[in-house]
């Protein structure tokens, strides 16, 4: 009987364990965060946006190929414009929506929810929200420039819109302009913003304001061929409010030396040796004895005393050609988000179109080339020699003013594949030939658009089809709305 009593006692304990030991709290992951620092969400977004602009992975950024700076020696699907094989539309979409915009918007939401007390706090809060807003605008512009119509009003709100519709590209552009104006107006340089987490300007509001105006300049210029009136007002107000005027204002993204924070080009150029400059680009630079060649290309890889580029999109041997310069192979080489060189060329284009931007096309053209030389560390004397050449100087170089600007812009935008390809599409110069081996979908032309994610077709079918119809077909040959020529 003693034993039976003991068993009942043990049983009673067991049942009390079963009934009292609640399971309610077990599902909270003790190693996962249920809250996040807003500034740290922005940091993550900046890292990913900079990655989008900087990297040259075949999965995420083939734009240096589209602009025909570089080509791949062995695996040529991407430089032959195969956008389907690696579902590039999906890589871009995931990176920009999920890994950049989502975090920027969440950061903004969280900051909005924190009550600010007193005028200084209110100003800082406004600055933070505006700085995030500028970045959101930049990313949406990138998305439109990639795809055309994109989810905008219904994006990033899964509870309300699990299947977001696509908005008209121009409407998005105009709304971005409005948002940018509001953000610029809200920025107060006499107060601070992010104490940490801003890897681009370390929270300097004045710098963000200049960047915001420079972005507005670009946004406006993109509208020039389709809405000259709107373009003029945006460009001139941006110029008057203050765009970049020197190299120190360039929005750089600093990389470091460890595997998680190094420049992603290191992977492509050093770990994998499959990327070399193109014959076309190298020959153009050789022809004008461009002093940037010793930075753009690896001086140790000269062939018979000269730089030698590879034919575009052909399978070749890496060692037979010059390769990319050592500065680009540095783990710590910064990426460029927006730079002074770019501002100069945008102003040259604006001036050339008759907009009032405080100087002539010729002045900004020369400033742009010199800014590029400066950025790449070319000695001033060499830079001056170059701009003095008859085939470089604005007055004497061949081509229309637009072509001259576009041509020098193309050289100066080296290593900025996405912007270079975008400006090539907008300015249509230099004339780039698609390779004969290009995929059929390219129709013998350099792509002017990235096709949507293949998953959009299956996951968001109706909205996808409506968008494809609206833009004139989900093709890489369909022009973005601003690409009139």
């Amino acid at each position: 009987m003693k034993i039976i009593k003991k068993i009942f006692f043990a049983g009673a304990i067991l049942l009390s364990i079963a009934s009292c030991d609640s399971v309610d709290e077990l599902n909270l992951d003790k190693k996962a965060y249920t809250t996040a620092l807003p500034s740290a969400l922005m940091t993550s977004a900046q890292v990913n946006y900079a990655y989008f602009l900087t990297n040259a992975s075949v999965n995420d950024n083939n734009f240096r190929g589209y602009a025909q700076y570089w080509t791949s020696t062995t695996y040529t699907d991407e430089v032959n414009y195969n956008q389907e094989r690696r579902n590039l539309g999906n890589s871009h979409s995931i990176l920009l929506y999920r890994d950049v915009l989502q975090d920027l918007i969440n950061a903004q939401k969280q900051i909005k929810n924190i009550e600010a007390l007193g005028p200084v706090d209110i100003a800082i809060k406004k600055n933070k929200i505006s700085i995030l807003e500028v970045q959101i605008v930049m990313v949406y512009q990138t998305l439109v420039d990639l795809f055309g119509n994109v989810p905008y009003t219904e994006a990033l709100n899964i509870a309300a819109y699990p299947l977001p519709k696509y908005d008209d590209a121009k409407t998005v552009y105009l709304d971005l302009a409005t948002r940018l104006d509001a953000a610029i107006a809200d920025m107060d340089s006499s107060n601070g913003s992010f104490a940490n987490g801003d890897l681009i300007y370390q929270g300097r509001v004045a710098s963000w304001k200049i960047l915001a105006n420079s972005v507005k300049l670009k946004l406006g210029l993109h509208l020039a061929d389709v809405d000259a009136v709107k373009a003029k007002s945006m460009i001139e107000s941006a110029y008057n409010s203050g765009v970049m005027t020197n190299e120190s204002q360039t929005a750089l993204f600093q990389y470091f030396s460890s595997i998680i924070d190094m420049n992603p080009l290191y992977d492509t150029l050093v770990n994998e040796k499959q990327t070399v400059p193109t014959e076309f680009f190298v020959n153009e630079l050789n022809a004008k004895n461009d002093p940037r060649r010793d930075v753009f290309f690896n001086p140790e890889s000269k062939k018979e005393g000269n730089y030698k580029g590879a034919p575009y999109a052909k399978q070749v041997t890496y060692g037979d050609f010059s390769n990319v310069g050592p500065r680009l192979k540095l783990k710590t080489n910064p990426g460029v988000v927006f730079d002074y060189t770019e501002t100069c060329f945008l102003l040259a284009d604006a001036a050339n179109r008759g907009f009032s931007v405080g100087g002539t096309a010729e002045e900004y053209y020369k400033k742009g080339i010199l800014a590029s030389m400066n950025f790449w560390g070319v000695a001033n004397a060499d830079a001056q020699t170059y701009v003095g050449r008859a085939d470089v100087a604005f007055a004497t170089a061949t081509g229309t003013p637009k072509e001259k600007i576009a041509y020098q812009l193309w050289i100066a935008y080296y290593n900025r594949g996405f912007e270079a390809w975008t400006e090539y599409r907008r300015l249509d110069f230099p004339v780039l030939q698609a390779p004969s081996t290009a995929v059929e979908a390219a129709d013998g032309k350099v792509p002017v658009r990235n096709i949507y994610s293949l998953f959009d077709k299956t996951l968001n079918k109706n909205n996808y089809e409506a968008a494809a119809t609206a833009i004139g077909g989900d093709l890489m040959t369909t022009k973005i709305f601003w690409d009139r020529f």
Binding site: I7, D29, D261, K273
Partner: protein, 1068 residues
Amino acid sequence: MKFKFFQRKTVVLFFVLLAQFALAQERVVSGIVSDNAGIPLPGASVLIKGTKTGTQTDFDGKYSIKASSNSVLVFNYIGMKTQEITASNAVVNVVLAGGSEQLQEIVVTALGVKREKKSLGYATQEIKGEDLTKVNTGNVANSISGKIAGVQIRRNNNIGGSTNVIIRGTTSLTGNNQALWIVDGIPLNNDNTNSADQKSGGNTGGYDYGNAASDINPDDIETMNVLKGSAASALYGSRASNGVILVTLKKGSKSKGGLGVTFSSGITVGVVDKKTLPEYQNQYGGGYGDFYGTVNLGSGEHPYAATDDASWGPKFDPNLLVYNWKSFYPQLPGYGKATPWTAVQENPNSFYQKSVTYVNNVAFAGSNENGDFRFGYTNYNQDQGILPNSDNRKDNFNFSASYNLKPKTKISASANYLKANAKGMNETGYGDGGNNYLSSIRQWYSTSVDFKDLRDAYNLTGGNTTWNVTGPNDLTVQFHDNPYFQRYNNYNTMDRDRFFGNVNLTTQVNDWFDITGKGAVDYYHQLQEERIAVGSKRTPNGQGQYSRYDKDFREVNFDLILSFKTGITEGIKFNGMIGGNTRRSISTSIYARTNGGLVVPGMYALSNSVDKINNPTEYQTTLGTNSVYANASFNFLDTYFLEGTYRVDQSSTLPKENNTYTYPSITGTYIFSNHLKTDWLSFGKVRLNYAETGNDAPFGKTVATYSKNDNFGPGGIRFSTENEKSNANLKSELTKGFEVGFEFKLFKNRVGFDFSYYKTNTTNQILSIETPSQTGYTRAWINAGDVQNKGYEVTLNVIPVKTANFSWEAKINWSTNKNEVISLGGADRISLGSFQGIGYVAEVGKPVGQFIGSGFTYLNGQKVIRANGRYQQTAGAIIGDVNPDWIGGINNVLTYKNFTFNFLIDVKKGGDVYSLDQRFGHTTGIYESTVTNNHLGHPQRDPLADGGGILLPGVKADGTPNDKIVSVEGADGYSFYNSMPEQQYVYDASYVKLREVGLSYRLPSKFLAKTFISNIIFAFNGSNLWIISKNLPYADPEAGMSSGNLQGFQTGVLPTSKEYNFNMKVQF
């Protein structure tokens, strides 16, 4: 036969005479114990009444024992009526009768309850321990293959790797579908630690670290019973929704009196099956085309062989002198020497070696009226795996004991400890950058590289002297290391310590009421260490890397069960039970690796990191369920049986308001043979059941979280929003299913037949679905969907021949399962994973597990060829289905005197496999099939002008036959084979295998009569000896990445080993 009769008579006569002289003296009494069908009963116990002296019958039912003529022999066999006979004669032959004239088969059912098989209203199928130990392949799940209807086993071939076990098809789209393993009432965690990238054969790849069911030692297993349907497993709750494999370990209680000792020792040699190796072409060398140029490395200007990872190079020509890779290295003897351009002596198949495994086992067991005990120790030692520098060792200790405290209270406990160590498992996956050397040699390889040279180069230099360098003057490695360097330097290790055990206390309160308390624990620690040597291409700049992954798992279960049994009235019996279970499990893991390289080469420690290490990745998963269950079964006249079960689970992984859910089941059985007395029908039964089971969510899916990445630069703290939207409103999954079955035993049990039909629907599935990335998430958790499984299972046991000396028994099983996705909550298709560009999906109207990729385009059933002579492709087509049409096995046991011969043929019909090995092996021109002659009889690689090229079978867009011959010379061959739709490389994964063969010989007891040894058995066994038929070239269709939901993909797979085993077993 006459002779035999004479002999027996003589013996009888002799004993009769002997008895005259030696009355009441001890002498040998012998005989045969059989059942009423005349079938001898091996293992029946024979005990002299009132003593502890006893013996067991041998395989032929024979026994011999020393007894005086007035002693009483007690004959006992489980499930049969005990008989007592006085040993007055020297020969006592006994026919034991069943409880109700039938052989009472007792099986272990849910919660360890022993039941008469005839009463069960659901299908179960049992395997005896001795059928699992013939060849110990390191994972007991492998030994089930082909033996149980409805159980699909997929060995993956990986060294120490995992085995996929699916019972009655895939039910859950994204959840766990693996059967639950319960060993002596202890639910055994059977997770694998393989990464998502590893399972899908991704770029990073990784190792298949195996699943934990491999920790069950086959030598300790008494029986294994498979509970297939929901009704059988409903008492176990949600975790058993995929079926249960109940393992009962050996106990001391089996040995009747005294101490029994068993010792066995065996050696297994594994030899690579040539049918699972690639056939390399030996006519053309490496490169993407002609020689890239000439160079003078010291013996004149000669072409240099391409160092690229493809074999579209120039045709071999012994008169041509070429600088090959080994002439590029100053430290090699071939430096600067041009050699004839000829085929290699050793192709990559010489990489494999024989595997050697020793298994030694000793067990002690004993019992008396107060209790029993058993201790077993098994050492499994694969000294040498089929790849260089691999081994696998397990030490397994098992101890169990029971003690009767008072006549009505019994306490029992078991403890199992396992120590497993493996080294040099094979890497799996695509291996971008040469991570998996097997992918290199099956996909990206140069046929002008001699493996002998690679081995010599490694042995001489000890360094990474490899063929795949940048060029003659640049020895930077492109992708592929020297394979020997990689094997001996980039190796992994796995160490697992595991303890599982239980304590049971049962007391009989009165003759109709028992109380049982149970506690069970399963604990393991696993350490995985991966090394990449300095100099290997696997890390950037050959900087080296070390990583470690530590995992701890602990699960504790407590059960309290009150059981009742009573006769309600004459002819009606009742059994009932009510119980409670509380389960808590916690799993924690941490992963850390060096960063930026290793400071000191060859030193593998986190502190040896060049840069500061990144944040280690930590996981902690805690799960809990509280449950109450009840069961009631009624037996009417031993003919009608009715049983109902009910279980309520409260699970921690569901939101509080939805966390409680229930499972009812009801089963009915009618033994119609009790009403149908015929000569030929020994037993007949019909059974029917209906059950509902639920399933909870994976851990932590109800709470939104942020991930925190490593700091970017100094102070760059990073948080990011989750990519997969959590869901605070999840509900439990629901499976409803019914099953109907028939069992017959005919002609005095010479033929046994069992048939089941079942249909289940799993609705309200907890799914992670893909969402458009513009929502900010790429996946979201939802409740949706309906997956249906229906199928037939047939088992047939036949004893065609049964004589005194010879018997032949055939056990046939066959099953088919039809899986269909009925609904996906509005979506047509959801992605379950992807394999290097191939989608793996569930699509409405089709079985779970369709391959999506580029397919052929058909016109009137003919493949369409474009104007360029290549296939017209259809993107996003369904190009394969992983589900087999049916599976089956035939196991034959032939016994002649003391010899037993058995062989098992295992068949899988249908189901597809996508081979990336075939795709890239063709693209790179390494396989024999890329040099065969074309339709004109010319070598396909000859120039078009010389009659070369390939004419693809098919029609042009206008329907006329294709007449465009395509060049496959050099690099164009790369693009030609690369232009094939992915469907080209989807193969039917059917196979017919001679899975097991065994020949054993048991020393006749007369040789041992005067020794203390009671039994000696010698056995030769073989496993996987012959793939009788398959359609997939150069590999085993079973080979794969890992256990889990993603199946049917091959990249860089290991060949199959034919295993030859010799084994000796001694019982004392």
